[in-house]
């Protein structure tokens, strides 16, 4: 029974979560595009040159946060670059993509990216327990950060656990690559046959939590990923 | 227009926008229905503002007069 549940989490649920997330994002974006446009300008003055480009740069670099909340800005930078790094390092697991050497046993970043995002998300979470951020926070704010924290901490555990055996790696980049490769080729192979480490249960929990994140994402404030640039354009263009 | 019986005189000279009309709307309740408030102001705009206000508030501007830069407006409370 447990095997069946683990298989469901590791294969069918991953497909469901990705499909749900993709459809959800598209639905959300389209539903906003179909609404009437703003009729009068919402610009802030003085006007800036190359306003469109500037708005895009501001969306990615958050200069107002750097100015007013430098510590928050530092962790926001670490976190967002870390997320980008994690997406790349997971893609790099695939045998077709080699950002680091195909023979390397480590993921891109040797686990450091995971630690960086864990610390950042912990900072985001803890600052929500303090006034005045506590007073503007809603349960969803804590839950999404807690979910991210759990995903990161299980990811860190997997990274660390891979070298538990004094003789070398229990599971390597290549083993995870084989699992992801089976997913992208829809082979429906039982991942247990590819990932033989004794910490398999941690991997299942990591994937389960990531699935939950994908399911929740279109309805969460993580959607700011897709609206940060258009929002910044309203202020500049 | 000194033959109009005035219940109250309001001195609204030199007030910033939009205080003359605001004060008028607040003070109209302080006289009885049928009584008249005499408003003193220096705002040229009051000559259009007060009748417009009266028409929306159901009150009546009886008349106005201008002397030495002071505008007097006579407002009768109807409701």
């Amino acid at each position: 029974m447990v095997d069946k549940i683990f298989y469901f989490i590791m294969v069918p649920m991953v497909y469901l979560a990705f499909a749900w997330c993709a459809v959800g994002i598209m639905w959300k974006v389209v539903s906003i595009l179909r609404l009437p446009k703003q009729t009068h300008t919402l610009k802030i003055f003085p006007e800036k040159s190359a306003a469109g480009l500037r708005a895009t740069i501001e969306a990615f670099t958050m200069p107002s946060v750097r100015r007013h909340q430098p510590v928050l800005w530092f962790f926001l930078g670490v976190f967002h670059l870390g997320i980008l790094g994690l997406i790349l390092s997971h893609l790099d697991l695939l045998p077709q993509i080699n950002l680091v050497s195909a023979e390397s046993k480590h993921m891109l970043g040797n686990g450091a990216i995971g630690v960086a995002v864990t610390v950042s998300v912990l900072y985001f979470l803890l600052r929500r327990f303090r006034t005045p951020i506590r007073e503007i926070s809603v349960p969803a704010d804590y839950l999404i950060l807690f979910l991210l924290f759990l995903i990161f901490i299980t990811g860190d555990t997997i990274s660390w656990a891979n070298s538990w055996n004094p003789d070398g790696f229990v599971l390597t980049k290549q083993d995870f690559g084989a699992y992801l490769n089976s997913l992208v080729h829809f082979t429906f192979t039982n991942p247990r046959d590819l990932l033989t480490g004794s910490h398999y249960v941690v991997i299942v929990i990591h994937v389960l939590l990531a699935n939950l994140l994908l399911l929740a994402l279109p309805f969460s404030k993580i959607m700011h990923t897709f609206f940060a640039v258009p929002l910044n354009r309203l202020r500049r263009v | 227009m000194s033959d109009i019986a005035v219940a109250k005189i309001l001195d609204l000279k030199g007030l910033p926008c939009p205080m003359p009309v605001v004060k008028m709307s607040q003070e109209i309740g302080s006289v009885q229905v049928g009584e008249v408030i005499e408003v003193h102001t220096t705002d040229p705009g009051s000559l259009s503002d007060f009748p417009a206000w009266a028409s929306t508030a159901g009150q009546e501007v009886l008349t106005s007069e201008q002397n030495n830069g002071v505008i007097k407006i006579f407002v009768k409370r109807l409701v």
Binding site: F45, H68, I136, F227 | V21, G69
Partner: protein, 417 residues
């Protein structure tokens, strides 16, 4: 609250959900960067005076009626339904915010609290909870537009009675009208306020520049915008647009009133005439050498300048007032912070018209600290609302600082050759 009212409120909320509003309501991450942007919070640290605190009152309603998660699990986002207690919070959103948009410059997304505030104001109208004084003023402006022909005569008499005071500041050529009305094909249609203090300085300056100008029959301020009623905002602006079109003027020049300027310039669509602020016109006269100013008038007094939010951060008029001041004094000092970072005076959004003295005084403490720190004796500004609020602040906190309109300083310093 009965069901019909609730449905009307939901319908109103829905009618405001355009692309910008949906993005504003969906994407706030509650990072809190905006909190300290607000003068009210900086003066009185209570979360209900923070931009995000105000926005949350509306966002929670939006979550309840327009988001699946808010319907299925309202506890997640603390989604709430319309009721009488909630409407009191909506009132806080609408009328503890001056619409200065300083927080827009803090938010990493640029979420516009003034848009959310104006939505809150519209909800209050539907709930019959808006400040009645603002509705009354908006209705008065509309009624004035409809009946203007009946009062044109007495207005013209009052305006001609201002002649002596205008001539005291600038002696025009004999025969020229000191305050002209109904001038066809004028270069400038000047839109004043009801008070003579917004007519006399402007008239003397435009006469000194030998401008072909005309005074409007209407007041510049748009109370429809203050009360958050889009229909009334349009009707009030249309009176001026029609007058300007009838007279075929080149430029509509808005007196020192920030809201009037922003509404006419940026919120009423395209016009067959140009819209500028009176401050821009004065700067142009100086640049073209059409007027000259005497610095002796302000000799011995240090001068600072308050950028009205609607004129500067929300209107782009930053350089012109400073250029004018450079012709008025050699002893000018900037406030800190300044320009787009300047603190709001705390009187916008209709608060001055509503009275609200206690709140205005306590929520703008930070403004008092800012202008007293300059050591200036004269605080100049270019907005009626700001002028009233800053004067009240100066008196309330006994700062001894004299608040002056820029146009008044200019007209008193005109050099007659």
């Amino acid at each position: 609250m009965d069901e019909t009212r609730k449905q009307e409120l939901i319908k109103t909320l829905s009618s405001r959900l355009n692309q910008a509003m949906r993005m504003y309501l969906d994407n706030c991450t509650r990072c809190g960067t905006c909190i300290e942007a607000c003068h009210a919070y900086a003066s009185e640290p209570d979360i209900k005076y923070s931009p995000v605190g105000r926005a949350q009152n509306i966002r929670r309603l939006y979550e309840k009626y327009f988001k699946g998660a808010g319907k299925l699990a309202p506890w997640l986002s603390e989604a709430i339904e319309f009721d009488d207690a909630v409407m009191k919070k909506v009132y806080d959103t609408a009328y503890t915010c001056t619409g200065c948009r300083r927080c827009v410059t803090y938010c990493p997304f640029g979420i516009d609290t003034q848009q959310i505030q104006s939505l809150a104001k519209q909800l209050l109208i539907v709930a019959d909870m808006e400040p009645k004084v603002l509705s009354m003023l908006a209705d008065m402006s509309i009624a004035k537009g409809k009946n203007i022909d009946k009062t044109k005569g007495s207005f013209a008499t009052a305006v001609s009675n201002l002649e002596t005071e205008v001539l005291e500041r600038w002696r025009s050529e004999a025969g020229a009208k000191a305050v002209p009305l109904d001038v066809q094909d004028a270069n400038v249609l000047y839109i004043a306020l009801a008070g003579k203090h917004s007519i006399i300085p402007a008239a003397s300056i435009m006469n000194a520049a030998k401008e072909k100008w005309s005074l409007s029959y209407f007041e510049a301020v748009n109370f429809g915008a203050f009360v958050g009623n889009p229909q009334k905002t349009k009707e009030i602006a249309d009176r001026i647009i029609q007058e300007a079109t009838r007279l075929n003027v080149k430029e509509v020049v808005i007196c020192e009133c920030g809201t009037a300027y922003r509404v006419m310039k940026y919120m009423t669509g395209e016009h067959p005439f140009k819209v500028i602020s009176f401050i821009e016109l004065i700067a142009r006269y100086l640049q073209e050498g059409r007027i000259k100013l005497d610095k002796a008038k302000l000799q011995g007094r240090k001068v600072t300048y308050h950028d009205p939010c609607q004129l500067a951060r929300n209107g782009g008029v930053y350089e012109e007032p400073r250029y004018i001041l450079s012709h008025l004094t050699d002893d000018f000092v900037e406030m800190t912070p300044t320009r787009e970072d300047n603190w709001c005076c705390g009187g916008g959004g209709g608060l001055v018209a509503m009275g609200e003295k206690d709140f205005r005084m306590k929520s703008a403490k930070v403004k008092v600290d800012q202008f007293t720190a300059t050591g200036a004796q004269v605080l100049s500004t270019a907005c009626e609302n700001c002028h009233t609020q800053l004067s009240d602040l100066s008196e309330h906190y006994k700062t001894g600082v004299k608040v002056e309109y820029l146009s008044d300083l200019v007209s008193k310093a005109l050099v007659q050759e």
